[in-house]
Symmetry: C2
Subunit: 578 residues, 2 copies
């Protein structure tokens, strides 16, 4: 499907969301395959007040009131000016499967006060999302404060009931995807980025969610094997310090012989590695006169030989268990040369401590020297992986020091979003039974915009550069490419601008209605990932830079501006000074 | 069971852990009931390098090497000096059920390099934790840096394989339980503390784990209904702003009649509430001359009446949707008085924005005035609940302003541990085939202590005040109450102290061996929660204070000191200056 509207506005419903009448929604799909990834995502994963409110709505005769809720955030995370929207597919899986089980109902009965009417329990047991419609921006969109990312419409108690779970399923995925995108921006497109954070994540699926959504945000893969299995994300991993520590010496090794890749001739691989280490040791002096290889650890060499024999095509050694410069690098190169004799190419090293910029430059210089002296030209470009408490700022700092790192393993800061561990998405009632609803606040940033709204992204130039996002009421005609449009600041009366877009993209898509998920509108995870990078390319660089980024403009139509401001005035209490 | 050793040391194994030969381990238990709470906790929820290392160990002939790993952290979180250990029961559930499925094996085959030996896959498919032993400090213990919280012993590749998942299952639970304990310390024992953080949590079980472990850490309950169902934790919740926003006026209400609790006589509850509001309005002037009740919102009053009619015994109103002082408080009191006429007692209010200290004091003053004038003495003590971005520091600040809050709802900062969103537990190899292993580091804080070790907590006085924790080699005889013991600083040679304990508590308990979980040693969640509070009472207050807390001492025995330092010297490379 093509959501870019560069001609007459076809296939667009009057609510401003793209619809495709020619594409009939898949009329039925198997609940067994379109379930939440995590079985804990179920109707009871919510705040109790959703259930107590449901009872009060029901008792007040409001079970069939028609409500509209907006899900949005008020501030971009990480002191930045953009956010990646993520989590939508899991939201749809949850909504699609929404149904209290008998077991749930037993629990709910046990916590509701005595005297709760029996009919209500029946109502709750029968509650489905059949009458709910879900409009949303596509997963992987770049989004901004106050934009309704998801618009949920339907019976008030049902639409209300979805609040907490939707927020849980959007807040963290969007936050961690944004974090990943920012680190990708810091590292540049040519570096490999891998997520190594499972052990420090906030719970098992804090880790699993992180693995999935940082991949969407621009990482290349993860160490998390379950994420690999469930989502098809590339997985990476070699060995830990404990693997090195598990080998004490060279003599006690049980397994020393290894065959040549082509000829099959067997050699004592351990002895060969030892021989090359002795020959290479003097080369260390090109780096530092004090380093001559005499400090190289035998347990480490033993571990490297055993790892290389198990993974002759994937030999990537962790070199900082004892001392990167005095031991690890030399042991790695010795084993790499022995592997080369058997017609294998080593992959590289990982450094997990110390001054990563300095060590990577030293390592690169040593690789080049060894490559030269021992006739192993590819070794000059052996991969250097760095890990150890990396974050966005560290990568910028490494860049300034001209590091020689090819691949970053990022853990704690990435998966827990240490700089800002929560995104503040909220879910607000904006209309009920046709009446616009508004949440007043002394703080203008906390005001909500009432009514059913939709969003357009107006682009200029060749249509690639996003100029402004325009929020309108769904009843308004969509903006048209090539026609000048007046865009207003949502709060400041005097801020207005005419925009002449070359393309207009309707951001809202209808994903769920009448119990059907529009599967044909749901991109694959790989497509979402590609969209993120494509969308980021279309965002001006000054919105993305680390320091003092320019806010991207989100405007409202004149009609929406008047609608909102009239309501504010009508509802805000008038103070009195005496 | 009683782990306090106040007499001869009975029932203690030579490895320093408490054992109970009289209590035979439950010989078998049903995997269906002792499974991880989250079905995503499974052997593949790990870093890929655990599997690649398993292959390299297996190929190196080390599959039956006997390894000992310690799980510990190096620094208490939140700039504090204590940590609550949590997550153990889920660790045991995971270990007990550990087994790769056929499906897992298919995936593993697909990611391992071509040429991986077939026998290895068979080995992995057959891998169990039957030969693993797990010693640990009891869940809910107060623990300190460098103490082995869990000691895992068994075949090297198996013990290694558990690393990532154990860390995931301990790091966040311990972090968030500690956060909760700190907030309990800030709020004091008499305040109610509820966790409201699900919507901002890092994934669905970031939220679920938080709900469980903050309860263990000292909270009174949660808004998370699934946590209530799964763990039996008390749940709380009333209504959101959107509930208030869903009511536009008083006239359109469908349901206005309500019966007296005893007599059954029906009255127009809405009209009654309106009447009392008019009568009470002038009272607002006792708070502030500018406030006379004329700004009270009718939609809000409508919402309150409907909520009160649904929950006449549980009427707790969110009063800040429009204006706490000008609208919410008056509407609440009016409905509370109407409820009182029908023989019900209102519960109180929740304030979710603004200056919580000021508003709570104003609310209390108004409650007292209304209580007085309208003959509702209990209203003077109506509950005041506060929420809105609360954290430890905010609660200390509120205390200084003599707030009148009875109950705190804590969300984002609590569940995401915003101040420090990750605990840095590590899992280090400390012994293999009887050889002590050591991870050297230029940074003394990062050195590991080799060998099998156990921990004793030495207490003084009446036995209630923890004096010092002593780490020993398991081969040493345990310290005895009433006998002077030399305790040494683990790194600083000159720091030594004699300690005369009145009680000695062995902290390590054997929880898993030969495939059996010692269920009789596993306390219930309620017991764990009670233990946390009891243990905290035994910790001197200067270790717990917010500013500049005193570090609690963790010492080593002279034997362990020598063992460690001899190994360090033997293994550390000698530098050369020329």
């Amino acid at each position: 499907m093509n959501r870019l509207l560069d001609g007459p506005v076809d296939g667009m419903e009057k609510d401003g969301a793209v619809n495709h009448t020619v594409e009939v929604a898949t009329s039925f799909h198997d609940k067994n395959t379109f379930r939440p990834t995590n079985s804990l995502v179920q109707p009871l994963l919510t705040d109790l007040y959703q259930i107590t409110m449901a009872y009060a709505y029901w008792k007040a005769g409001k079970k069939d009131s028609f409500a509209v809720f907006d899900l949005f955030f008020r501030k971009n995370p990480f002191d930045g000016e953009y956010t990646i929207f993520a989590g939508l597919e899991e939201v749809l899986r949850y909504i699609y499967c929404f149904r209290f089980s008998e077991d749930d109902m037993g629990y709910i009965r046990s916590i509701m006060p005595a005297g709760t009417e029996e009919e209500f329990f029946q109502y709750l047991a029968d509650m489905t999302t059949r009458d709910i419609s879900v409009y949303a921006v596509p997963e992987g969109s770049i989004v901004f404060p106050r934009e309704p990312l998801i618009r949920v419409e339907g019976p008030l108690p049902v639409a209300q009931m979805l609040e907490t779970t939707l927020l849980t399923l959007v807040n963290f995925p969007s936050l961690v995807a944004t974090n990943a995108a920012r680190i990708r921006h810091a590292a540049g497109p040519s570096k490999e980025l891998f997520e190594f954070g499972l052990r420090r994540a906030q719970g098992p699926d804090g880790g699993l969610s992180a693995s999935k959504y940082v991949y969407i945000g621009g990482f290349d893969g993860t160490s998390n094997t379950l994420a690999g299995k469930l989502f098809g994300i590339p997985v990476r991993g070699t060995h830990a310090h404990s693997f090195v520590a598990a080998f004490t010496d060279l003599t006690s090794l049980k397994n020393k012989m290894m065959k040549h890749r082509k000829t099959g001739v067997e050699v004592d691989f351990v002895a060969l590695s030892q021989k090359y280490r002795a020959e290479m040791a003097p080369l260390f002096q090109v780096i530092d006169n004090e380093i001559d290889g005499s400090g190289a650890n035998n347990g480490e060499l033993a571990a490297f030989t055993q790892y290389a024999m198990a993974f002759p095509n994937g030999f990537l050694a962790l070199v900082d268990t004892f001392d990167t410069l005095r031991s690890g690098l030399l042991n790695f190169c010795a084993v790499a040369k022995a592997l080369a004799d058997l017609d294998y190419k080593a992959v590289g090293i990982r450094i997990d401590s110390g001054d990563l910029a300095y060590l990577s430059k030293q390592a690169r210089q040593f690789f080049k020297t060894v490559a030269n002296r021992f006739g192993l030209p590819w070794l000059a470009n052996a991969k250097i992986v760095a890990s150890n408490d990396l974050k966005e700022e560290t990568i910028y700092a490494l860049n300034e020091q001209n590091h020689q790192i090819d691949s970053f393993g990022v853990g704690t800061h990435l998966v827990t979003c240490q700089k800002q561990p929560a995104l503040g998405c909220v879910y607000k009632l904006v209309e009920v039974d046709g009446h616009p609803r508004i949440k007043l606040s002394q703080d203008v940033a906390k005001l909500t915009m009432p009514g059913r709204k939709t969003i357009y992204r107006l682009s200029g130039g060749s249509g690639n550069e996003a100029l402004i996002d325009l929020i309108q009421r769904v009843s308004e005609p969509p903006p048209e490419p090539g026609k000048r449009i007046l865009c207003r600041h949502p709060f400041e009366e005097s801020k207005r601008a005419y925009v002449l877009p070359t393309t207009v993209e309707a951001l809202h898509v209808l994903y769920y209605q009448n119990g059907h998920v529009f599967h044909d509108r749901l991109p694959s995870m790989e497509d979402v990932r590609a969209n993120v990078q494509r969308n980021l390319v279309n965002l001006r660089n000054d919105h993305m830079r680390r320091l003092n980024p320019t806010p991207y403009k989100v405007a409202v139509s004149p009609d929406l501006y008047d609608y909102v401001h009239d309501l504010w005035l009508a509802n805000a209490p008038i103070g009195e000074l005496s």
